[in-house]
């Protein structure tokens, strides 16, 4: 009973000075907030990295010729090779491309001035129409060439943003023709994003067009988009589908499953989070302890009087521990709430999905309370040692 009244009184005592309570709690509150925020942002960023990784690499398989053909008739990639691979379980879409050799000039305006040195022309690729989707090309202007263009062998190209800048065809409303080896092609689209940024420096035309004008007889890469988790299977099955009798003529590559990476990222950030969190909690705890010590000194008279009026040493300890526990509760509650707000705000500003473990709030709260109790132990012990006789003499 008595102890309950002591605790109640300590509680009233703490909240009777709200501004002091908040100032005392401030350091530990920041500690808890940073802990919660760092932990949550780690998870959020980690999830974000994994998401990018999933969307970029683990669903992409490429198959190339393993080397130069030794005998005439050895299996090679052909423009029709995609059909067999497309039937493998887990394959979403396939496309083929060839990097064209023998490109001497790629310009927007035909120049006959031999005194102007010719710049290195951008890479020119021949591709099937599905390449746009397979490589995740994002058209900033115009559109990707389609199957119709491909079947007819139309003189059309799409240009990467970087190549477009180099050629001076940034704006299709002003300029929509390029000359490749002195043949004119319509620029139907400009793309500014791709699975791999090296594509932004390329000019891409339909395979049949390239065969007609530039003699591209065979593709050199088969690009495959697969469902998540199917990459390995497709990389194994692809070459077999292409050449059941000699799959070794092809080399498939894919990026391994990101699970290992996910764990790696988790470990690194967790270590950092433990260190930063530990340091800020320590600073906050020392802050509470300092203020509580000052508090005890300030209230020497009150403590002496409580003792004179019958308080046991243990009851003085309980009183001051309760008061610092209240500080801990405030820093834990406010700190974890602020931490959550920071996570949501930062994630929002980067348009990431905020992800936080469910235990962050309760753990942050518990840490705040623990820091209050730890910080309060020494001041409470000091308070209990105050002798009523000597503390009451001072006026």
């Amino acid at each position: 009973m008595r102890l309950r009244y002591v605790c109640q009184d300590a509680l009233v005592s703490s909240v009777s000075r709200p501004s002091k309570l908040f100032l005392t709690a401030f350091g530990a509150m920041l500690g808890v907030a940073s802990l919660v925020a760092i932990s949550g942002l780690t998870t959020t960023a980690g999830t974000q990295i994994i998401a990018r990784f999933d969307s970029a690499s683990s669903t992409y398989v490429s198959i190339e010729n393993a080397g130069e053909p030794v005998n005439h008739g050895d299996p090679r990639l052909r423009w029709a090779s995609g059909d067999g691979v497309a039937r493998i379980e887990g394959v979403v879409r396939v496309a083929l491309s060839a990097r064209l050799a023998g490109i001497t000039s790629v310009v927007a305006v035909p120049l006959d001035d031999p005194t102007v040195p010719e710049a290195t022309p951008p890479a020119v690729l021949a591709a099937t129409a599905d390449l746009g989707e397979v490589l995740g090309l994002r058209l900033s202007d115009g559109r990707m060439f389609d199957r119709g263009h491909e079947e007819r062998g139309d003189n059309v190209v799409v240009v990467g943003a970087q190549a477009a800048g180099q050629l001076g065809v940034d704006d299709l409303a002003l300029q929509r023709v390029v000359f490749i080896n002195d043949v004119a092609y319509d620029v139907v689209g400009i793309f500014d994003e791709a699975i791999d940024n090296s594509f932004l420096g390329a000019v891409i035309m339909p395979a049949r067009t390239a065969q007609t004008h530039l003699g591209a007889t065979s593709p050199d890469v088969l690009h495959v988009i697969v469902r998540p988790g199917s990459a390995r299977l497709v990389a194994e099955q692809g070459p077999i589908a292409l050449a059941p009798s000699g799959p070794t003529a092809f080399a498939a590559s894919y990026t391994p499953d990101p699970t290992d990476l996910r764990e790696q990222v988790g470990e690194d950030t967790r270590a950092m989070f433990v260190v930063v969190g530990f340091v800020s909690m320590l600073a906050g705890t020392v802050g509470i302890m300092n203020t509580m010590l000052l508090n005890v000194m300030e209230r020497t008279g009150e403590i002496g009087l409580r003792r004179a009026l019958g308080a046991k040493r243990a009851e003085i300890v309980v009183q001051f521990l309760t008061e610092s526990a209240v500080v801990g509760v405030v820093s834990g509650a406010a700190g974890s709430a602020i931490g959550m707000v920071v996570i949501v705000a930062l994630a929002e500003s980067r348009s990431w999905a905020p992800v936080a473990e469910w235990w962050l709030m309760p753990v942050g709260f518990a840490l705040g309370v623990a820091s209050g109790l730890v910080a309060g132990a020494f001041p409470a012990w000091r308070a209990a040692r105050i002798e009523p006789a000597s503390s009451l003499r001072a006026a």
Partner: protein, 230 residues
């Protein structure tokens, strides 16, 4: 005349403060105070008045000698029993009021009752009753910082009275007050004595001392007893 047990009985009491150097603040003190007596304690600064009061108030143990409170030999009591006896039977009023500045007047007055196991409701009822007795019935929800010095001392007296003590110990309660305000405080003490409370009052002021039944002079730790007047 029937001999009743005196409330306070000091026999050969001495108090040393361990130094270095060791200070003998009280030596061979003999004193008997009966129930309902009003005794003033006078003497120069540093003579040992507060030391005497601390011993009598069970805040400090004498180095040697015997101190009986209401017939109980306090030397034989455990720390716990001494604390309980002090909390139940002795009230203190100091020159510094020692009020908690952020707690209301009722909370200040009822504070000691926490350690008697009184609930908030009981504490408030008793506190309001004692505040009424010192003429501050209307200020119970005020904060001490809004009160005058005289009012603060009256709150302190109400707090000392909250445990219904049989002995009230005052260490220069009027030291910080002007004479008119002091008079109000002393009037309250007179009324308490009238109601059979035993009071020991340390003071520097001869006029204050004169209101008591008798005076004890402390000189270099020795007690010199005046003639009683009443």
């Amino acid at each position: 005349m029937t001999r009743t047990v005196p409330l306070i009985e000091l026999e050969g009491v001495a108090k040393d403060y361990p130094g270095p150097p060791t200070v003998r603040a009280l030596r061979d003190a003999q004193m008997t105070v009966g129930k309902g007596e009003y005794v003033s304690i006078v003497g120069r600064s540093g003579s040992g008045k507060s030391t005497l009061l601390n011993v009598v108030g069970l805040l400090d143990r004498p180095t040697c000698g015997r101190y009986s409170f209401a017939g109980v030999d306090t030397g034989s009591l455990s720390e716990r029993r001494r604390t309980a006896l002090r909390a139940r039977a002795i009230g203190f009023v100091f020159q510094g009021f020692h009020l908690m500045p952020h707690r209301t007047v009722v909370e200040n007055v009822g504070m000691g009752l926490i350690y008697q196991g009184a609930s908030w409701r009981q504490r408030r009822r008793i506190a309001e009753e004692k505040l009424e007795a010192v003429g501050l019935g209307s200020r119970s929800t005020a904060l001490p910082t809004m009160l005058s010095g005289g009012e603060m001392q009256r709150v302190a007296i109400a707090r000392a009275l909250a445990c219904s003590p049989s002995l009230l110990l005052c260490d220069e309660p009027t030291g910080n007050l002007d004479s008119q305000t002091a008079d109000g405080i002393l009037q309250i003490v007179d009324d308490l004595v009238e109601a059979q409370l035993t009071v020991l009052m340390i003071t520097h002021d001869p006029q204050v001392a004169a209101r008591a039944h008798r005076s004890v002079v402390v000189r270099d730790g020795r007690l010199i007893h005046d003639q009683g007047r009443g």
